[in-house]
């Protein structure tokens, strides 16, 4: 009984997404640019650029996706052609450390991740997905075309639509959803350039003018994102519009270039300042999270002073954001260089981890078998957490469901691994992989007890690949996707503010809707794994060919010689080549003559010399 109850509760909290208010102006489309800056307790600075374009068109009517104003035409064409309901693409370099940094506004795994809901009525979803990934891969200069059937799954519970949906999507069927991730994908400027091109002002004006590739890619974490979804245009949700949210997150470390001090400024972080706003943007805003000023002794002052400081409650925590309207600061060709100065140098201490965080690693040794272990930490003092855990394991790691073991340990125990109690998953969805066709896909619903660590482990066997299936640099190893954990956090979670569902804009966080201050949805991605597979010596076949051929050739040569030559007695008076040579050199001749004299005296005549002669020669002499 308990599992089904838990499942129902979870579904009700994750699946049924109802949208509340969305106020739009009179214009058909609008664009907002926002920058969110949050100093992290480890001395890092989290910066999140949020560009939101909303356009009042009916998603299902393709003939409305013809005339574009602020919405990028290149992307709009793709979305209309492939009947996309929702699209979420992230390209990330580096790992977000939840344990130390808390939760980001948009979570993303290292590498590339794409999940797409197609519109109901899409005839051949697999084919549409294949076409879509090929187009997107060309558009963003990323190897998304490798997201083929071999690493694509239809998650049952983890990825529900994020936007306004018709009743159709509230059913549990997910055959219109596709999810794939490429953990090995590298992200660099060649991905940023096409991403920037989708912005109405590019990087020529507004907060996007801070994009300085040298600084942006010299960071601890960097993530680009494109999120497309339909949203409601009014409170009753009688009509919908589409929302494109482009995000860029970067975690920078000012302490490195600042002699250990945490002070920062836009100029120091990005090497640039903001001189203009994007003129087509409805709002251009910078938000600085100043909540930590109230919590600790280490306080920073912002210069210039913000327009306003807004306080709002989320759960039991009071948050405050300093807000800058860039338009006011850049009037009359002034530039805005936002800076923060701390009152004292910070001595870092251990950071309190967030409510839920996960570590994942590989176990086992040798190149035959191994295991994957995830440790799910629930640090909440009193509440259990229901989470959905999703794992997509490539087909070449043969995973066995019977080896799946979930144990939970209370936090008092120092050693995880002894005296655990077995935890029964509330729900389990498992699709075994097929060689060269589909990956192993596991989804679990778990109830994590309060103040506990849950250990989830699975064993796998490494497969032998065909020699053409190895990538270049095969000894580097093979990556395994991040596991994805989805959960609704209890309302007293400190230090986390999720974006509300009705809008991707940061200002929507402040809109003070009381119904929002409840439980918050969080999506976590774990570390990726690097697995070594048994790798052959690729030059071996050629070596074998060469060696075998040489042996054959040597054998052939001697047999050929033996069969085609005849051994005959050579007339000792007929001088060979060596004798002729000797005859020509007077010194040698003298010596030899002396020797021959002695020899003939001792042994007499009749000395036969066996000489090899070619058949032709011997015939000729005879």
């Amino acid at each position: 009984m308990a599992p089904s109850m838990g499942l129902r509760f979870l579904l009700s909290s994750i699946i049924f997404i109802t949208l509340n208010v969305c106020s739009l102006g009179l214009f058909e489309d609008e664009f907002h640019e926002e920058l969110f800056i949050k100093p992290l307790p480890t001395g890092h600075i989290y910066t999140h650029f949020q560009f939101t374009t909303t356009w009042e068109v009916e998603l299902r009517r393709k003939d409305e996706f013809l005339h574009y104003h602020l919405f990028p035409k290149a992307l709009g064409e793709v979305l209309a052609k492939f009947s996309v309901q929702e699209l979420h693409l992230t390209l990330t370099q580096g790992l977000w450390r939840h344990e130390k940094w808390g939760y980001p506004l948009v979570d993303a795994p290292p590498g590339a991740e794409l999940w797409v809901w197609f519109q109901p009525g899409t005839s051949n979803v697999n084919e549409t997905w294949t076409d879509l990934i090929n187009v997107l891969s060309g558009m963003f200069c990323a190897s998304l075309n490798y997201m083929d059937a071999k690493n694509t799954v239809c998650p049952k519970l983890s990825f529900r639509p994020r936007g306004a949906t018709s009743g159709w999507f509230s059913k549990t069927s997910t055959h219109l959803l596709r999810y794939a991730a490429l953990p090995r994908e590298n992200v660099c400027t060649e991905n940023l350039t096409p991403w920037k091109k989708l912005l109405p002002c590019g990087s020529k004006a507004g907060v996007a003018s801070l994009f300085n590739s040298i600084k942006l890619y010299d960071t601890n974490y960097h993530s680009l994102g494109i999120h497309f979804r339909p949203v409601c245009t009014n409170s009753d949700c009688t009509s919908t519009s589409v929302e494109l949210s482009q995000t860029l997150s970067a975690v920078l470390e000012p302490t490195i270039f600042n002699h250990g001090r945490q002070d920062w400024s836009l100029k120091k972080l990005f090497g640039r300042m903001i001189g203009t706003v994007c003129p087509v943007a409805q709002t251009s805003t910078i938000f600085v999270d100043v909540t930590s000023n109230k919590m600790s002794n280490y306080q920073f002052t912002l210069n210039p002073a913000p327009n306003t400081v807004e306080n709002f409650r989320r759960g039991r925590t009071e948050h405050s954001y300093a807000i800058y309207d860039i338009r006011q600061f850049t009037e009359r060709s002034r530039v805005l260089d936002l800076s923060a100065k701390y009152n004292q140098a910070i001595t870092y201490s251990q950071v309190a981890p967030p409510v839920l965080y996960v570590h994942r690693f590989q176990t086992g040794s040798g190149r035959e078998k191994g295991g994957i272990v995830s440790l799910l930490h629930n640090t909440h003092p009193s509440q259990d957490l229901v989470v959905v855990y999703m794992e997509v394991i490539p087909w070449f790691l043969h995973t066995y469901l019977h080896t799946l073991q979930v144990d939970t340990f209370t936090a008092e125990m120092t050693h995880i691994g002894i005296n655990g109690t077995t935890l029964k998953p509330l729900h389990l969805h498992y699709v075994p992989g097929k060689d060269r066709q589909r990956p192993y896909h596991l989804e679990l619903v778990l109830r994590l007890p309060a103040k506990s660590v849950t250990r989830l482990s699975m064993q796998f066997e490494r497969a032998l690949l065909k020699w053409t299936e190895y990538p270049p640099d095969a000894n580097h190893g093979f990556y395994v996707n991040s596991a994805v954990i989805s959960a609704m956090l209890p309302d007293d979670t400190a230090d986390y503010v999720a974006l509300p569902q009705f809008s991707a804009r940061i200002s929507a966080i402040l809109s003070g809707n009381e119904s929002l201050s409840g439980r918050q949805f969080v999506n976590l991605h774990t570390e990726t794994l690097l697995v070594m597979l048994p790798t052959p010596d690729f030059s071996m076949p050629y070596n074998v060919i060469c060696l075998a051929c040489t042996v054959v050739a040597i054998a052939f040569g001697s047999i050929h010689n033996l069969t085609t030559r005849r051994f005959t007695a050579v007339d000792p008076t007929a001088k060979g080549l060596l004798a002729k040579l000797k005859a020509k050199l007077p010194f040698l001749r003298r010596k030899k003559e002396g020797k021959e004299k002695g020899a003939s005296e001792g042994e007499g005549e009749g000395e036969g010399v066996l000489g090899q002669e070619d058949t032709g020669q011997s015939e000729a002499t005879s």
């Binding site: 035409k73 187009v135 203009t276 015939e619």
Partner: protein, 530 residues
């Protein structure tokens, strides 16, 4: 045993799968003649002529057209006409037509005649011979009807009539040129017209782009949706059975021209020099590509000059200002420089500007006609051509376009198949799978069908078949499975065999050399002994 089992097994596992293709038919397609039949009717309204005059005229006309019909050994136009007297209803229409000079009455008559639909379905060309009191000059109507004044006797009409038919309606010379060009005959020198228009394609993407390099100063807006509906709607509707044309638009901010205009102090403006124009489109190019379509894209750019380069004009080779401030880039699209007035002193920025879509679309419609390859109306001195007006393309122009495209499709599909057949013959290792075989079959039969329809004078069906032919032939030619061609490239075979054959060949060659030597010496001995 080894041989009995091994040889067939080896043969089976190493043969390349190749579907049999109709090679001889493909070769025939490329050499056989295309015959095109044109049906027309001459309706004589002038009551001075009797039945005998008419039949005499018909014979004369037939003779004259038969002599001219053979355009080339590869392309043959056959004119098939009949001459008749006007029906009562038609005469009634004529009587309603009042005077001679006023153009409108001809237009009305033209229209009424078309609406009356007396000749079956109006798909034939019709020439009306009107009494000179009603008309003083030949007029080409909007549909497929031309009006000729009967100045002298009927015989004098043979010349202008066959001129209209051959050089206005059919335009034999242009047709032959497209046909030969598509066939890949490099001997024909490309001319301006054939270089300008896009080659025949099943679809085109038309994109209108508004470029505003200074959105902080000017907020430029346009009613593009309404303009497209109003100015292009009928054209798109007329072409929709034949080509899949999609029209889209976008706004691009903060992107300027690729070059700096030169300041002209005497005229107090900035100018873009004629020879620099090709560089202009480079800066915009990244915003124009489409990721979802393989169709050629026609780009129409409206550029609102930035304030520091305004007003901006285009100059021609003689340094004269262009009247339209627009230019056309062959097989690419067109650019219009749209100068807007300087905002007033006390304006709040960004200053709102609304574009006059009539001014924009006038330019782009004429450019679109050229780019699609609708030949401009050839109005010579003694012929008036009625303007198609809102339709943008008159029916006979559409016929001409269809005919040209159809011939081009036939020729290029045949040439593609020929190239494919040649490639497959040259490289024996290429796999030809069933899909390719099927596409080739479809293309071959579609070309044949299209030719048959042409010889029956059914242009519509001929075009649709030729479109099918070109789609199938391109699909077969660009099938990705052809690229996975070589099971084992020749150089790799060499790399594997050389460690074996090189050491083995050394003793073999040496012994061959010595046996040759021995044979020679044996001959010498024989000679000596003799």
């Amino acid at each position: 045993m080894c041989v009995v089992v091994g040889v067939p097994l080896w043969w089976k596992t190493t043969t390349v799968y190749r579907v049999q293709l109709p090679y001889s038919e493909i070769a025939d397609l490329n050499t056989s003649r295309v015959t095109f039949v044109v049906d027309f009717t001459v309706t004589v309204f002038d009551e001075r002529f009797d039945a005998q005059d008419l039949s005499q005229f018909a014979n004369k006309l037939k003779e004259s057209l038969d002599a001219a019909g053979k355009v080339d050994d590869r392309l043959h136009v056959e004119y098939r006409g009949k001459v008749r007297e006007a029906y009562e209803e038609e005469l009634l229409l004529l009587r309603q037509m009042r005077s001679v000079e006023v153009d409108n009455t001809v237009v009305d008559f033209d229209h009424e005649l078309y609406m009356a639909k007396l000749d079956s379905d109006n798909s034939e060309y019709t020439f009306t011979v009107l009494p000179p009191s009603k008309l003083d000059k030949a007029v080409v109507g909007k549909q497929r009807v031309s009006h000729l004044p009967a100045m002298g006797d009927l015989g004098s009409l043979v010349e202008p009539l066959s001129h209209l038919l051959r050089h206005v309606y059919i335009n034999e010379a242009a047709m032959l040129k497209t046909f030969l060009w598509a066939r890949g005959a490099r001997r024909t020198q490309p001319d301006k017209e054939s270089m300008r228009a896009f080659r025949s394609h099943p679809g085109y993407d038309v994109t209108f782009t508004l470029m505003n390099p200074q959105p902080d100063l000017l907020q430029v807006e346009w009613h593009i949706q309404d303009a497209v509906d109003a100015y292009l709607g009928r054209l798109l509707k007329a072409l929709s059975p034949y080509a899949d044309i999609s029209v889209k638009s976008q706004c691009v901010h903060y992107t300027g021209l690729g070059i700096r205009p030169v300041k002209d102090d005497t005229r107090n403006c900035y100018k873009l020099k004629h020879e620099k124009l090709p560089h202009v489109i480079n800066a915009i190019e990244p915003y124009l590509s489409s990721h979802v379509s393989n169709n050629p894209s026609l780009n129409f750019i409206v550029y609102v000059p930035s304030r520091d380069q305004s007003p901006l004009h285009i100059t021609d080779a003689n340094d004269d200002l262009s009247t339209t401030d627009a230019f056309l880039s062959p097989r690419w699209g067109g650019v219009l420089v749209y100068n807007v007035a300087t905002p007033p002193e006390n304006a709040t920025y960004p200053h709102k500007v609304m574009l006059d879509m009539r001014r924009v679309m006038e330019v782009f419609v004429s450019q679109l006609r050229l780019l699609l390859g609708v030949n401009p109306q050839t109005a010579s001195g003694d012929v008036t051509v009625l303007q198609p007006g809102n339709n943008i393309i008159s029916e006979w122009e559409l016929d001409q376009w269809l005919c040209g495209r159809c011939l081009e499709n036939i020729a290029s599909a045949a040439a593609t198949l020929q190239a494919l057949a040649q490639l497959l013959a040259e490289i024996g290792n290429i796999v030809i799978n069933d899909d390719i075989g099927h596409e080739v079959q479809v293309a071959v039969s579609a070309i044949k069908k299209s030719k048959e329809f042409l010889s029956l004078g059914r242009l519509n069906d001929a075009f649709l078949s030729s479109k099918q032919a070109i789609i199938s032939s391109e699909k077969a030619f660009f099938d990705p499975s052809l690229l996975e061609l070589l099971y084992f490239p020749e150089d790799q075979k060499f790399a594997i065999y050389i460690p074996l054959f090189l050491p083995i060949s050394i003793p073999v060659i040496l012994s061959i050399m010595s046996s040759v030597k021995w044979l020679r010496s044996k001959d010498e001995i024989k000679v000596k002994s003799e």
